[in-house]
Amino acid sequence: MKNMMKIKYVSLFVASVLLSACGGSNSNSTTSVDDDTTDFNSFVVGLIQNQTSDTAEPVDINNLVFEFEAGANPGVNEDETAFDAIL
């Protein structure tokens, strides 16, 4: 279940990057399903897994509202497995 959640958020992130690359806004595009916030952990994982290149542009985060307690364990900010995919 946790892995599925991560895949969902990473997929959303990739979609947002593609939107941004096509001239669309990345504002609130890496959001969770239920609101306009962005799961911080998944966002970071997505950056590292999908944006690590010498030619990529940094992602503008000014219009993102990060949610630090969402993701695999909503309401819990102690998810020690949040970054296992990249460690």
Binding site: V44, A56, E57, P58, F83, I86
Partner: protein
């Protein structure tokens, strides 16, 4: 002690005649210290903190047709800082950008990446092979490859990128002698027992380099050097708690004896200029990956580092003209400036046209110091954003902050250089580029209060020979590439 306490002296003070040789527009800059820890965010990342940037016609014998570029990073190193000392950041991109047509966009970028080379030195302790805790367990040198006693050293690669820094065509610069695209960085100056003749050892790390598309070889060196800036730093930031009308060498250079890491290039002039335009602009940047995750369980045996970094390269340090982000840009915008590109410098224009620093001096020395009453400060605009008409302004300039050099002006040997640069009738120096011996602190102090504004009613303090009380000149530096001094040793024995 107060500034300007001898008002009569201030009014009567003479200043070296401004002889900017054909310059029709006057210039001034404002600031007091270079770019050491100048912005809030960069203080957390000293390895990528660009502190000084130099660009000048080489004045080494027989190298008059070359440009030397030096970018200093990782300032204020205490030489004894073992066992890890001061390696460059491996997860960073250090770059020097050249704009050779005045459009505020990089045309050539020299891009450096660093790598750790680990030799897991172990000793047999009671039958067990155990890794040692030190960076070296025996002498290093005298040759470049004499590193068998070293646990971890660094190499680097250098690419030349034509066009956009991210998407332009990138080609490796190679060692002319070996053809290798990997260069060695010398170990830091640990001390005489580890490296018996550091000067000679470091020189073995100066490489002739073959630059793509450039018929003549250049030079490259990256390594530790002695801090090349001089400033009475503590007093300056203590509300200018010094006498700026005192002797130019009357105070202590508090950063003397610290070290920096220098990235130095020497490139033929013809490989940097474009067409008939003699003026080039340059600046240095450092970028790190956008994301970083701390590993709670580092595991060297399984190649699990203390952190994982990824994402796009994201610029965190920018330096062209000295002192701009230090004392021109408002505190709230310093991080933004470090992340910015020259093409977007319009956002910072007010800091240049309406500078706060001269007024701060007026406030600090009420009734004595008087900020120039000239708004917008068109002199500052030329200095910071366009270059000076007739000296170092490109024909089709787009306003943007960078260090600009007219490459057609001959270099002067060290003994003939005036450390006040153009203020001292030496147009081969700052603000036409910047040489190690240019005393930019004294220069900018004087011009900040109007030294280059001809009308004394607008700039009453224009003739004040202001100084921070520390000085430097070209004879204190080497006459050979990379010019900056051998670093202070970590051990005094």
């Amino acid at each position: 002690m107060t500034i300007f306490h001898h008002k009569k002296n201030l009014i009567a003070a003479t200043i070296t005649t401004l002889a900017l040789g054909g310059i029709s527009t006057l210039v001034t800059t404002t600031a007091l210290a270079s770019s050491h820890r100048e912005a809030p965010f960069i203080t957390s990342m000293p390895k990528v903190d660009g502190s000084d940037f130099y660009m000048f016609r080489s004045y080494e014998t027989d190298r008059e047709n070359f440009i030397t570029l030096v970018a200093n990073y990782y300032p204020l190193q205490a030489a004894y800082g073992g066992p890890n000392y001061f390696d460059m950041e491996t997860d960073a991109l250090y770059q020097i950008h050249i704009d050779n047509n005045g459009d505020a966009v990089e045309d050539i970028t020299y891009s450096f990446r660093f790598q750790d080379v680990v030799n897991d030195l172990q000793l047999n302790i009671g039958g067990e092979q155990v890794s040692v805790p030190l960076k070296n367990i025996g002498p290093i040198g005298p040759d470049t490859t004499d590193t068998d006693n070293v646990y971890v050293r660094q190499t680097y690669t250098l690419d030349q990128i034509l066009g956009d820094r991210r998407t332009g065509g990138s080609t490796a610069v190679v060692n002319t002698a070996s053809g290798s695209s990997t260069f060695r960085k010398p170990m830091d100056n640990i001390g005489n027992k580890s490296i018996s003749n550091y000067s000679d050892y470091a020189k073995t790390h100066i490489y002739n380099m073959t630059v793509p598309g450039c018929a003549t070889a250049g030079k490259v060196f990256v390594g530790q050097r002695d801090e090349s800036f001089a400033v009475n730093l503590g007093e300056v930031f203590d509300l200018v708690n010094t006498n700026p009308l005192g002797p130019v060498d009357g105070e202590s250079n508090v950063i003397a004896g610290t070290n920096v890491l220098s990235i130095a290039l020497e490139v033929p002039i013809t490989c940097l200029t474009q067409g008939s335009e003699d003026v080039i602009g340059a600046w240095t940047t450092a970028s790190i990956r956008q994301a970083s995750v701390i590993n709670p369980f580092p595991d060297a045996d399984n190649n699990k580092a203390a952190s994982v970094k990824g994402g796009a390269w994201t610029q965190v340090s920018r330096l062209g003209m000295p002192l701009v982000n230090e004392l021109v840009i408002g505190l709230k915008d310093k991080d933004s400036f470090n992340a910015s590109e020259p093409m977007n410098d319009g956002q910072f224009a007010t800091y240049v046209t309406n500078p706060t620093f001269p007024m701060l001096l007026e406030i600090l020395f009420e009734g004595i110091a008087v900020a120039p009453n000239l708004y917008p400060r068109t002199d500052l605009v030329e200095t910071f954003l366009t270059g000076l008409t007739g000296l170092n302004q490109p024909a089709n300039v787009v306003g943007s902050e960078m260090l600009r050099l007219n490459t057609s002006i001959d270099a002067k040997p060290a003994a003939s250089q005036n450390n006040l640069g153009a203020l001292g009738a030496d147009t081969s120096g700052f603000p036409n580029g910047r040489r190690p011996g240019d005393d930019v602190v004294d220069i900018v102090l004087r011009v900040a209060m109007g030294a280059l504004i001809p009308d004394a009613t607008i700039a009453p303090n224009r003739t004040a020979p202001l100084t921070d009380g520390t000085t430097l000149n070209a004879t204190e530096f080497s006459n050979e590439f990379p010019y900056l001094r051998v670093p202070t040793a970590g051990s005094i024995n």
